[in-house]
Symmetry: C2
């Protein structure tokens, strides 16, 4: 094969750190997601005058966390002080009190920088963290150099200011969840229609993670039903998302096979009452997977890992079950059962390797929440969101290891903790906590 | 990763010849296809009495080529003499005069045997060819041991006997194309409804290949249109099928990018007037592919090769075009354009390797003509077949290197010639030629 066709991560790796390049690539994907989000859900950021009838907070300011890649090869994290935005007629301003650090936030926040040698200057609201970025990663990050990026996909808080429209006005004082980037700040403008209004009694810290994981879990189940599958497979299944999907599938009686990578993760899911748990680190993995696929009839998998052989192994095992696992070998080919793997994550940035052996009725493809929502349309989206609001303390509850302030989010020791992405650990930022 | 999950070709290869195992695997796939075909298109093989009003040929016999894998590890090719079948009410008997040796026939015909050391005994209709099969391949072939297999996916000839139904009777004397396995014989029963009746003046030798390649080419174009693509990419594009697809796309004005692997193949397609030809053996492959994708807007590819990096390279190039090839790097991720590769062949039995770099809107999957026809339903199938009949001498014409008899098909020198699968070479069997 001619050269010049290696994917970006490899070509960048040749000039520097592979890990750095991988992080940079993830960052870039997330930047793009973030841009889409802002276009879709958020009000434009232009300066606005208070509209007639609005309840704007004039002459007040709020802090917002920013991530900046500088042309000299440094990441700079800092807080900026901005006027509290003035809502347009159909907008509200939310005082954010809970915004999680999702795996999908870390790429944009930390970029490809080496935080282990981060330097800090200033204190409180003046804290500035800087950390170096390798030259290879810098090439990939060219598109964000010099742009001070807002961070934070989702959050919850109280509506403290509203535009003149009845819909916006009706939200004043309500606790709402919102979505769309830039949540790591004290105040966030949102279209009124984009607010998920929470039932009375729900606190912001119970609703900070109402979008990414809940809608992803619901989207997976909805996809399985729309495409006619009888059961689901999920990889990296002990994650926060995986635990939520397990609760959701149990609540709906939808068969779920949980694939994890350690005995510890098996225990997490056992404790949550999961019925089908398969450990890919065990020598019996293939047999265990076949047994679970047979028991559930699952022909759809959502894979968070991406690179490597797992997606192909799942397809081939599904085919083995479909063709009759113990039948003569020549039934193992060409079953008429469609088998599908959707790759929604990139824990492994290497190539997806599909060993042939799943017949001719199979598919592998990308899956992204935002594309899914665009495909199913606003009515389905509204139905799914209503379910999240109703079950935010049960099915869709998120658990946090620690709640931190905006200033603590800039503490190198705290950064080291939340950037570990350890299974079961999740941090919540409360931007309304005192900053000194 | 734990062991025990390697695909069949690899595990068999460990115990013997990889090539043999690969051939055996292909054979098995084709056996399964054949079985499906027989269920779908063909009349059951049970012995029948002439129905009232039928025009059965009583007490006549015909020769049929058979392929048998014996338990002692030998392939045996021979001719068997069978009574001319008696058609049921809705059936006809066709005297086959033209049946091609498709790449997809060779697997079932030759199995995984080493024909270079074949031995021949007998003469004329008594000719028997035997050739050894390695022990590793034999394990994979277990399902067909001892079963005398009919061969030949498609053919054409004259209806010489018909059941009592008006539909069957109306076909008497007509030249028809039929489909469904077992065509390498002098007489073949078919359901009347399964016959493609050819316009007056079309000879059997012009219509022997009316199904596999024509419907595959039409199926690819139909798939592109149904799934909303503006252009197509085809790999191994200088094949008989590729040349036909090129004629079809030119006739319909549908943009087609032809990917080939040598300068000689480039010339074949140039001579046929193909507009977009890309040679994957050139160092400029990626740039040439990008230019052709940009010119055509193609976002769907049909790939005959399967294993290796090509499918992923096509997806990533499509994404680069979709995101704007020369834009800032961070537009290279996450375009909202869906890019699809369907793998319909297995020229390379290795794993499909997809380097990440096509964003989140992509898919790779299997594609099989019979699944496609089942999906689109009988009306579309009838429309496509009618087009084949009308354009059998132009768009869907096949060209043969040589026409041989059933006995010649058992000649080791002839076998060596047709099993080469050289690009542009195609053999036609005429079972009605004298057998001595």
């Amino acid at each position: 094969m001619p050269s010049g066709f290696d994917d970006l991560s490899v070509s960048v790796a040749q000039g520097g750190s592979f890990i750095g390049a991988a992080k940079a690539k993830l960052t870039i994907i997330l930047q793009d997601v973030n841009r889409h989000l802002q276009e879709r859900w958020m009000a434009p950021a232009a300066v606005r005058r208070p509209s007639k009838g609005s309840t704007a907070l004039v002459n007040q300011t709020g802090l917002e966390l920013r991530s900046l890649v500088k042309s000299d090869g440094a990441l700079e994290l800092s807080l900026v002080r901005l006027p509290v935005p003035t809502p347009k007629d159909n907008e509200v301003v939310v005082r954010i009190e809970a915004t999680p650090i999702n795996p999908s936030d870390l790429g944009l926040l930390l970029s490809a920088a080496d935080l282990s040698v981060a330097k800090t200057s200033g204190k409180g609201a003046e804290t500035v963290v800087t950390a170096p970025i390798g030259p290879a990663a810098m090439r990939v990050l060219a598109g964000r150099v010099g742009k001070s990026m807002s961070v934070g996909l989702e959050g919850a808080g109280v509506v403290i200011s509203a535009g003149a429209s009845p819909e916006a006005q009706s939200l004043l004082g309500k606790t709402v969840s919102i979505f769309g980037g830039g949540m790591y700040g004290q105040f966030r403008t949102s279209k009124a229609a984009g607010c998920l209004v929470l039932p009375a009694g729900i606190k912001p810290e119970e609703a900070g993670s109402a979008f990414v994981n809940p809608l992803t879990a619901l989207g997976m189940l909805e996809t399985a039903r729309r495409e006619g599958h009888k059961g689901l497979v999920h990889t990296a299944a002990a994650s926060s998302l995986g635990q939520m999907l397990n609760r959701l599938c149990r609540a709906d009686g939808f068969p779920l096979v949980n694939i994890v990578r350690s005995a510890e993760q098996v225990q997490i899911l056992k404790d949550l009452g999961a019925e089908h748990i398969v450990n890919s680190a065990e020598p019996s993995f293939r047999d265990d997977l076949l047994a679970s696929l047979k028991a559930t009839g699952a022909t759809l998998a959502f894979d968070a890992i991406g690179g490597g052989k797992l997606a192909g192994q799942i397809l081939n095992a599904m085919e083995a079950v479909a063709a009759g696992a113990s039948a003569e070998t020549y039934n193992m080919y060409g079953s008429s059962t469609h088998k599908q793997v959707y790759i929604y994550g990139t824990l492994d940035l290497g190539p997806v390797e599909l060993a042939r052996g799943s017949g001719m009725m199979w598919g592998v493809g990308g899956w992204l929440l935002f594309h899914f929502l665009a495909k199913v349309g606003p009515e389905v989206e509204a139905r799914l969101k209503a379910r999240v609001a109703n079950e935010i303390k049960t099915t869709f509850a998120s658990h946090y290891t620690r709640t931190i302030s905006l200033v603590e989010a800039l503490d190198p020791d705290v950064i080291a903790a939340y950037s570990r992405r350890a299974t079961g650990e999740k941090f919540l930022i409360n931007p309304s906590l005192a900053v000194e």
